[in-house]
């Protein structure tokens, strides 16, 4: 079976020979300008799952260092190369469109959470505290976006169980400036983790993500 890692433009040179999950060779298939990286595996056992996931990440990272990539979610597996060619034949043009649209851009993420506070007593008090907390986190997210405003091509926000996640699309060349500006913020009552650069998965067209 084939374990799929990611897709990138066929125009870029592939990274030096890579070893992927479980030490398997990393190969690629090309279709309509899209290069898909994969490994042939006998099985994908549950043991060493963490190591396999990290091995997967290392391959995607190696390609991502020099190219815009569309990663697969781990573990995405197809039966054989014929199945991969069929899938690419149907989807490569949409993926190529997204690779071109997002070329040279990466995703920076802001995880914003509240400082730990005593749990309010009662349902109403809890809901009011939650509302105030989300307002405060939203204001913090806005401050971060304002600090790096001219560097952000597009931003999306999502509420999570413990706070907010904000995704910012920035040019790869602007990552250090983005980190510097957001990193200079002074926070009151909130924690902010800036992580990236990541492949711009939050900005992919839905028909590419759910293929």
């Amino acid at each position: 079976m084939l374990l799929l890692y990611c897709m990138a433009s066929e125009a870029g040179a592939p990274p030096a020979p890579l070893r992927g999950v479980d030490g398997a060779a990393v190969e690629h298939a090309d279709e309509a300008g899209v290069r898909c990286y994969f490994s042939r595996l006998e099985s994908l056992p549950a043991r060493d799952a963490r190591e396999q996931a990290l091995g997967f990440h290392q391959v995607v990272s190696a390609v991502f260092r020099s190219a815009t990539v569309v990663p697969f979610r781990f573990p995405t597996v197809l039966a054989d190369e014929a199945a991969l060619r069929r899938w690419l034949g149907e989807r490569a043009s949409a993926v190529a469109r997204e690779l071109q649209r997002l070329d040279g851009q990466v995703q920076m993420e802001l995880r914003i959470s509240a400082e730990a506070a005593a749990a309010p007593a009662g349902g109403r008090a809890y809901l009011e505290a939650r509302r105030d907390e989300l307002r405060h986190l939203g204001a913090t997210a806005q401050r971060a976006r304002d600090a790096a405003g001219d560097l952000i091509a597009e931003a999306r926000e999502r509420e999570t169980q413990h706070g907010l996640r904000c995704y910012c699309l920035v040019r790869r060349a602007d990552v250090a400036a983005f980190q510097q500006r957001v990193g200079a913020l002074e926070l009151e009552g909130a924690r902010l983790l800036v992580s990236g650069p990541w492949p711009p998965t939050e900005f992919l067209a839905p028909d590419v993500v759910n293929a």
Binding site: M1, L4, C6, S43, L44, P45, A46, A49, R50, Q52, A53, L54, F56, H57, V60, S61, F64, R65, V70, F72, R73, F74, P75, T76, V77, L78, A79, W87, R111, S113, A116, A144, T160, Q161, H162, G163, V175, Q179, V182, G183, A184, L185, E186, L187, E188, R191, L192, L193, V194, S195, G196, P197, W198, P199, T201, L204, V208, V209, N210, A211
Partner: protein, 80 residues
């Protein structure tokens, strides 16, 4: 007292518990999903996914344990 944001540069070779969780979170939750791929039909793969997801649901919780400069140890997995 005001706090500063924490910066994690992915790929900088400075992995700690939080950046590893962040990486695993992305590996499992971001990217293209092929409907009908073998993933859903392989019991072993399902176990891989479920097993990792149990840990990954705790990412946001784990982040709460990072203080301003003082990094408290993560709680044991059962508490995350």
């Amino acid at each position: 007292m005001p706090a500063k944001p924490e910066i994690l540069t992915v790929g900088a070779g400075e992995e700690n518990d939080i950046s590893l969780l962040d990486i695993l979170d992305h590996v499992l939750n971001a990217g293209v999903v092929i409907q009908g791929s073998l993933v859903i039909s392989l019991a072993g793969v399902d176990l891989v996914y479920v097993g990792l997801n149990v840990v990954l649901t705790s990412v946001e919780t784990a982040l709460r344990y990072i203080g301003k400069g003082d990094q408290r140890p993560l709680p044991p997995p059962a508490e995350r």
